[in-house]
């Protein structure tokens, strides 16, 4: 298992390096650069000012040497310095990462728990009214624009009903500590995690349902039935467990989309995560920061994929652990 993880990590590093190089050039294709942005924001500017900024951002050097410098620092796990924000990129991302991890983590848990539960229910009663209702609901969540649901949810739950806070990570200045703070953060988390989670829930509902229907046709289910097991045990122990394997695979593949979807959610809910950081960095042409976010979020996806693979291997004895 350790060998497998090491091998996957090595592969991941290669993928990351490729992502860095690709995005490095991609980002620089965009019109304007950080100096231009800052000059524009200053409300007044002249050549000296822009030249100073270019020097400051090391934009006066050639592209290959900029790339070499960046790769060099990445190799030592240094994500570089955001000249615009006057801080190391690692610090900036470090401040934001927990929020994103919390949001995507909760959204993921909600989506997979609800998705599997509802999918299993629907599959068990395939063709019934409950099935139609569940698949219909899933479709609806899947088809509704994420930002639209978010806006509607804010209006309903925050403005009209005043049940939940509409934005932010916690109540600023309330000075909560310990449990009170956790409860406060949880309150803020409900809406963004739900809206993000429900979209992906739809994906898992469909997958679980289809997978369960497929597994329920396999021979060993007949064997289980021939034992005289109750339907519940058959569904849980035999069908669901096997049906979860493709769901785990799908979860791995969805990781990238999930992190991407967080950009929108974080924007609407003012969630201080790296998705928003990325969007801001993009608008400000904060190259190092943008690259850093790409590296970190891609690394998140890779790690998540690794985890799903490990889970898959742990669940499925057929995959040789030694390999």
């Amino acid at each position: 298992m350790a060998g497998f993880i090491a091998q996957r990590l090595a592969k991941g590093v290669l993928v990351l390096a490729a992502i860095v190089v690709l995005n490095f050039f991609l980002i620089r294709l965009a019109p304007g650069d950080p100096a231009v942005v800052m000059a524009g924001e200053a409300g007044a500017t002249d050549e000296i000012f822009v030249a100073q900024l270019r020097t400051k951002f090391a934009l006066d050097q050639s592209l290959p040497s900029q790339l070499a410098a960046y790769l060099g620092s990445i190799a030592t796990l240094d994500l570089g310095y955001s000249v615009r924000q006057q801080m190391p990129v690692a610090t900036l991302i470090g401040e934001r990462l927990p929020a994103t991890l919390l949001l995507t983590g909760c959204a993921f848990l909600i989506s997979i728990a609800l998705g599997v539960l509802l999918g299993a229910l629907a599959a068990r009663r395939a063709g019934s009214l409950a099935d139609t209702a569940i698949t219909g609901l899933a479709l609806l969540f899947y088809a509704t624009p994420l930002f639209w649901v978010s806006l509607m949810a804010i209006i309903l739950f925050s403005v009209r009903l005043e049940w939940l806070p509409s934005f932010g990570f916690e109540t600023v200045g309330a000075g909560y500590t310990g449990l009170a703070r956790a409860a406060d953060i949880a309150q803020h988390l409900v809406l963004p995690a739900l809206t993000l989670g429900l979209f992906f829930m739809a994906v898992y509902v469909r997958m679980t349902r289809a997978s369960m229907l497929e597994v329920s046709r396999l021979d060993f289910v007949k064997t289980a039935r021939a034992k005289g097991l109750t339907e519940g045990v058959i569904q849980r122990r035999h069908i669901l467990r096997n049906a979860l394997l493709p769901v785990v695979t799908l979860a791995g593949l969805q990781a990238g989309t999930l992190v991407g979807g967080a950009v929108l959610t974080e924007t609407v809910f003012a969630w201080p995560g790296i998705g928003r950081l990325m969007y801001d960095a993009l608008l400000q042409r904060d190259y190092n920061l943008l690259l850093g976010v790409f590296v970190v979020s891609s690394a998140m996806v890779l790690i998540f994929n690794l985890v799903t693979d490990v889970v898959y291997r742990a669940v499925d004895p057929r995959i040789e652990v030694a390999r």
Partner: protein
């Protein structure tokens, strides 16, 4: 000729599931969800086609007072937006753009994904390895983030949006096609084609790809839906084409006034929802019709 050869098989032993291959269209029409989907989609296409007839003027024209609620003025049945533009006109004209973006970007994604997947699956070995690494690269970068960056780089326009959506949505196609081709490659009829001396290209074209068609069609129908959602999300972030009236643009533009004028956001949002829903329903119907293995129990 000997007697044994002339004799056909003993009484037609239960022909293998004769019902399997009825026409896909008939199978879809048997699927109530898919029929509903087709009806909605037909409505959207109809709106797109009729828009220049029913609303020959530009949908951007400010025709009335701003913020007229729906169902109050006959001239603007769905009300007006923040600038006094006719929402009904916007919806009709927007249908075309949304469908176009969905369709063209999906086609583009297929154009990238299918050949790559076919090559990776059929040739295997190093080619497969290299192509799959490349695919992994695109699956690892958070897709929506990449789409945003691409549109920002290329500057928002219909073309850049289509390109960006295509570039982030091809990897699943490649994976699917590769998987299908991989399993088809060892099918006996493909081996038969190899053995009878047909060229690799012919084999791919004749024996392999046509048989990957049904899952691709199903995936494509879902991809069109996702592309429409992506387009609206990009527009929501202000990365839409400012010269084209699209549903995504309308939602994005209406969101600032969502509190005082729900209809500006609600109608195009509903249009997106319905269209995406329709495409998903059709996708499910297609899936049931084309991949009977996975069809729902009835």
């Amino acid at each position: 000729m000997s007697r044994a050869i002339a004799m056909t098989d003993s009484p037609p032993a239960a022909p293998p599931a004769p019902a399997r291959r009825r026409s896909p269209l008939a199978a879809i029409l048997r699927h109530p969800g898919a029929v509903l989907g087709l009806v909605i989609l037909a409505g959207a296409i109809g709106a797109a086609l009729l828009a220049p007839v029913l609303y020959p003027a530009s949908p951007w024209r400010m025709v009335q007072r701003p913020f007229i609620p729906p169902f109050t003025l006959d001239r603007v049945p769905l009300g007006t937006d923040a600038l006094g533009r006719d929402i009904a006109a916007g919806l009709m004209h927007g249908a075309g753009v949304s469908l176009l973006v969905g369709l063209v970007s999906t086609l583009a994604a297929l154009l990238i994904g299918v050949p790559l997947g076919a090559l990776a699956g059929y040739l295997g070995g190093r080619v497969d390895d290299a192509l799959m690494r490349f695919t992994e690269l695109f699956q690892t970068v958070p897709s929506f983030a990449l789409a945003i960056v691409l549109v920002a780089i290329l500057q928002p326009s219909l073309g850049s949006m289509i390109l960006a959506i295509a570039l982030v949505s091809w990897p699943p196609v490649t994976r699917l096609v590769r998987g299908e081709v991989l399993s088809l490659r060892s099918r006996e009829y493909v081996q038969a084609a190899v053995v009878t001396g047909q060229t690799t290209f012919t084999i791919l074209r004749r024996e392999v790809l046509p048989n990957t068609l049904s899952p691709i069609v199903v995936l494509a129908s879902l991809m069109v839906a996702t592309a429409i959602l992506l387009e609206s999300s990009l527009s929501f972030l202000g990365l839409g084409d400012p010269n084209r009236m699209s549903w995504g643009f309308m939602v994005g533009a209406g969101r600032t006034v969502i509190r005082q004028a729900w209809w500006i956001t609600a109608f195009p949002g509903l249009a997106i929802l319905l269209t995406v829903l329709a495409l998903n329903l059709i996708g499910e119907g297609l899936n049931d019709a084309l991949n009977p293995r996975l069809s729902r129990e009835r």
